[in-house]
């Protein structure tokens, strides 16, 4: 009974809502409706007959294509600008301070350029200008990255110079920037019989840095493979190429390359022709 009453009420309310909506005044089209419609149809008809309308999808596709090409060109320009794929330097600077003993030329560790190195008192390193020329080989050279303050100090026989230099280094105060390792001034530098220049690389190592796996075969440096995505591959070196020179220095089994250098041109023999390949250009 209650449900029936609710249903009746609901139906009654629906009728009332319908009545309210149906009672809304009706609007009519304006008097010039037909005239304006004629004009509109005439305009569209002439547009259809005379005008070429590019489909919307084609318009969007063209726009998208232009954007993609622009991005592609930008990417290529970025890649070939040298920001990506720069040739890393081949260097032996893994070890730091090396002081040679025979001849007694001493080189202090390479200190960061911004480090504030307090150079030992000049008095400790006596003026070299008074030094006879014949004694110059015995001169100990103390180098720091404060280039202006490079001081050639002399003097006396090697052990004395070493002692003076050691003393100077021990008393030196260093302030290094955060994150940049500093050589410990008070520690005794590693001694080695070789300087960086005396520790060159052979051609195989140089090529390995570029991403080339090569080996001598029959006296020729033959490229076995080129690492995918490597500098060498980007430059155009290929497996099967015979490397003839690097930076105009001939490649043979005895060839050694300076400890710190940058390969820029590699000449290879490919299909009977010598081709110069620029690296990292």
């Amino acid at each position: 009974m209650k449900d029936e009453m609710n249903t009746n009420f609901s139906a009654d309310a629906d009728d009332q809502i319908s009545g309210l909506i149906a009672g809304l005044p009706r609007v009519s089209a304006p008097a010039d409706f037909d005239l304006r419609l004629r004009g509109r149809i005439a305009r569209q008809r002439s547009a259809v007959n005379t005008g070429f309308r590019m489909p919307a999808a084609l318009t969007y596709a063209l726009g998208l294509g232009v954007v993609l090409v622009a991005f592609g060109l930008f990417g290529l320009a970025y890649i070939y600008s040298g920001k990506v794929g720069d040739v890393p330097e081949v260097t032996t600077a893994k070890t730091a301070p090396i002081i040679t003993t025979a001849p007694p030329t001493m080189t202090t560790p390479s200190l960061p350029p911004t480090s504030n190195t307090v150079v030992p008192p000049q008095s400790a390193l006596t003026a070299s200008s008074e030094m006879p020329a014949a004694r110059k080989p015995d001169t100990a050279t103390v180098q720091t990255h404060m280039a202006a303050n490079t001081v050639k100090a002399t003097a006396s026989p090697a052990p004395t110079v070493e002692a003076v230099a050691d003393a100077a280094l021990r008393t030196a105060k260093k302030i290094c920037p955060a994150g940049i390792p500093c050589a410990e001034p008070n520690s005794t530098p590693e001694m080695s019989a070789q300087s960086p220049v005396d520790n060159p690389h052979d051609a195989k190592e140089v090529l390995a840095v570029l991403g080339v796996n090569a080996a001598f075969a029959g006296g020729k440096m033959l490229i076995g493979s080129v690492n995918a995505g490597s500098i060498a591959e980007n430059a155009g070196l290929k497996a099967g190429d015979v490397v003839q020179s690097i930076n105009d220095q001939a490649v043979n089994e005895g060839a050694k390359f300076a400890g710190s250098f940058k390969a820029s041109v590699v000449r290879v023999l490919r299909e009977g022709k010598v081709i110069g390949i620029a690296i990292g250009k």
Partner: protein, 211 residues
């Protein structure tokens, strides 16, 4: 289809037939396809007011309603060759008008999203586009509505599209459930359900007008 249907050079024979006023919509469309300008003019005369009224109730904006009503007839005119008589013409033209109205309504919503006014509207007003007061004289005396009519109009315009279309077609335009289902491409049950839901929503908003 002749492109000069609305032009001055009409076919005298067909004009006479149209003048009888007894041709069905399908016959008028066929005549219009064959180049009779008066046949199309008769179609326009039959539907311009219902379509304008339908669109006005949907958008609650007279100028926009007239503009979309004209666009509806333009589309009918240029698509006449593709028109098939499997549907009633009224179904066909109301479907076009409905699609245009929904499209316009969505454009307004997008515009509203970009408008700062949207930040200050309440949830209840969210379906209604802000319309500045039109100080011009009304184009038709029928547009003069009392406060109750305006409240009802706003309540209808605030309904979600899926409820607004069927309730207007049913209670304003007096279309049958079957025809509304065909216009909206819905099942009969869904159509009835939506109309019922629309009435329930209106009941909540217009409660004080119910006895």
């Amino acid at each position: 289809m002749a492109l000069d249907i609305m032009g001055p050079e009409a076919s005298e024979g067909l004009r006479t037939i149209v003048a009888d006023g007894k041709l069905s919509d399908h016959e008028l469309i066929e005549a219009a396809k064959n180049g009779d300008e008066d046949a199309f003019a008769e179609i326009v005369a039959r539907y311009r007011n219902p379509i304008t009224n339908f669109l006005y109730r949907f958008l609650n904006d007279y100028d926009e309603a007239v503009d979309l009503a004209q666009e509806t007839f333009v589309r009918v005119y240029f698509a006449m060759d593709r028109y098939h008589t499997q549907f009633a013409f009224s179904t066909y033209i109301y479907r076009i008008a409905t699609n245009l109205a929904i499209s316009e309504s969505r454009k307004r919503k997008r515009r509203k999203l970009l408008s700062l006014t949207g930040l200050f509207q309440t949830e209840d007003d969210s379906q209604v586009e802000f319309q500045p007061v039109d100080s011009r004289s009304l184009p038709d005396a029928d547009l003069i509505e009392d406060e109750q009519s305006q409240t009802i109009s706003r309540a209808i315009a605030a309904l979600p599209e899926k409820y607004r279309v069927p309730i207007i077609l049913r209670d304003v335009e007096g279309r049958s459930y079957d025809e509304i289902a065909a216009i909206m491409k819905l099942g009969l049950g869904t159509t009835k359900s939506r109309i019922s839901r629309a009435r329930a929503l209106l009941k909540e908003k217009l409660n004080h007008y119910l006895k």
